[in-house]
Symmetry: C2
Subunit: 301 residues, 2 copies
Amino acid sequence: MSEILVVGSLAYDSISTPAGKSDRTLGGSANYFSLAASLFAPVRVVGVVGEDYAETDMKLLTDRKVDVTGLQKKAGKTFHWAGAYDGNMNEAKTLQTDLNVFGDFNPELPASYRDSKYVFLANIDPTLQLRVLEQVSKPKLVGADTMNFWISSKRDELMKVLAKIDALLINEGEAEMLTGKTNAIAASDELIKMGPKAVVVKRGEYGFVLRTAEGFFILPAFPIANVVDPTGAGDTFAGAFFGTLAKSDRGLDLASLKEACVNGCLMASFTVENFGVASLRELSLAKLQSRGEAFNTITRL
Amino acid sequence: MSEILVVGSLAYDSISTPAGKSDRTLGGSANYFSLAASLFAPVRVVGVVGEDYAETDMKLLTDRKVDVTGLQKKAGKTFHWAGAYDGNMNEAKTLQTDLNVFGDFNPELPASYRDSKYVFLANIDPTLQLRVLEQVSKPKLVGADTMNFWISSKRDELMKVLAKIDALLINEGEAEMLTGKTNAIAASDELIKMGPKAVVVKRGEYGFVLRTAEGFFILPAFPIANVVDPTGAGDTFAGAFFGTLAKSDRGLDLASLKEACVNGCLMASFTVENFGVASLRELSLAKLQSRGEAFNTITRL
């Protein structure tokens, strides 16, 4: 088992979906990721919060033994995002973004983090992703996510990130945008040429596509009739994915990647059942395993 | 092995996709269905064509031993549909519909068809679907498809159809429209209460959801990077689905349904690789089986 370093956002989100509303609920990629990954392996988090960040929210991480030495507390307010989903919940409409202390975030790794073997660069400015990577001495497996904003505004920097990472985890729409292709299969065929040895295209309610040099591994999402809030599903997937890989610590062999994808998919199915990180607070590996057995029945002849 | 009766359209389609154009190519639900199903079991077709219907197109069916006794040839032109797909090809934009002889189609079953055990009512007016059903003496398994037009204009008749059939095969968007639900899982939970013992929600590039009283069977589509023309994929799925069930002739047991869905999914993946019925002309069960083995690798841990 190895430690996982994650850099990403810690936020308060105001979310509206057909199932209801949740005001200033705990969110941010680093929170979803850490809560998911810490069920499998030790996590070290790098990020920034404001003075309004609640002690209880910090405790949520430390109770899971997440190392928060790399969490900066700055004068000002925590990053706040407001978004709304309608209909099929496949896409959020951003209503408001208050970067606050996240606006001039400059990730600095504590000395104790520099030997991290597993590194996940959640969706932040690719320049910062590269800066984090420079501070890690000898990572064994580096993964990253990104989004439409960086694809259009920082494409060159993003391509440098892709050349340096082992695994890319990316939404279907963004995979298509980055490659100019119109489906996840063609897009992953292109992405695998850009550097990563493994590409995971996250398809929301439709599951995922894993693409490696050996070929594809594709499964649907676990069936959830009542999706309450899809926010954080992708970061949850990444957390369980990295947690699984760090726990087995066998690198990028295909069997580990497949198991990592299935755990990512399953854990994301819990996240969407409630607002924010509510489901992840309660989740145990036993519950995940039980859903995994149901998933086998659902997807096997 | 039992005979399959199908009622549906025979058409000439003018299709435009990002991959190219195909003018007045052979199409229609009954053609896609018959070419797919006839690889597994004998097919009897009910439909109407115009005077312009080519002998070679008729021969395509008879070469496959499809019984065309129930095919009416009427004065006038064959049904013509013109449509265009863009981007991700998930939805066709209808440019023109010339019903022609299909406009006053009144399906009449030859006496030799009335003992058909497997019956598929492709997407036509639910009033006509019911009329066909009345003419079959003792079917063992009845399936149907439908579309947005009938859902909004003939809902009552459609509900009568649903009460009488064993299996509903329906597109995701139409499943959601019919139930007022916003995802395929919730929609299939509702549809199963409306009569059918098996509901198959067809998700295009994302595969399918099979819902029975016993639960779900869900798989992605076979990965196709270069989708040329998605027209007829759903009817191809239905053809291979019914063909598989009629060949094994074990009714609606879960193992048969699962195999039927996988064959439907695989055969549809061939259809989308070329315009119209071009792929189905060449397809053999050996090719299907070979793709099935690849599909197993792609979807298994």
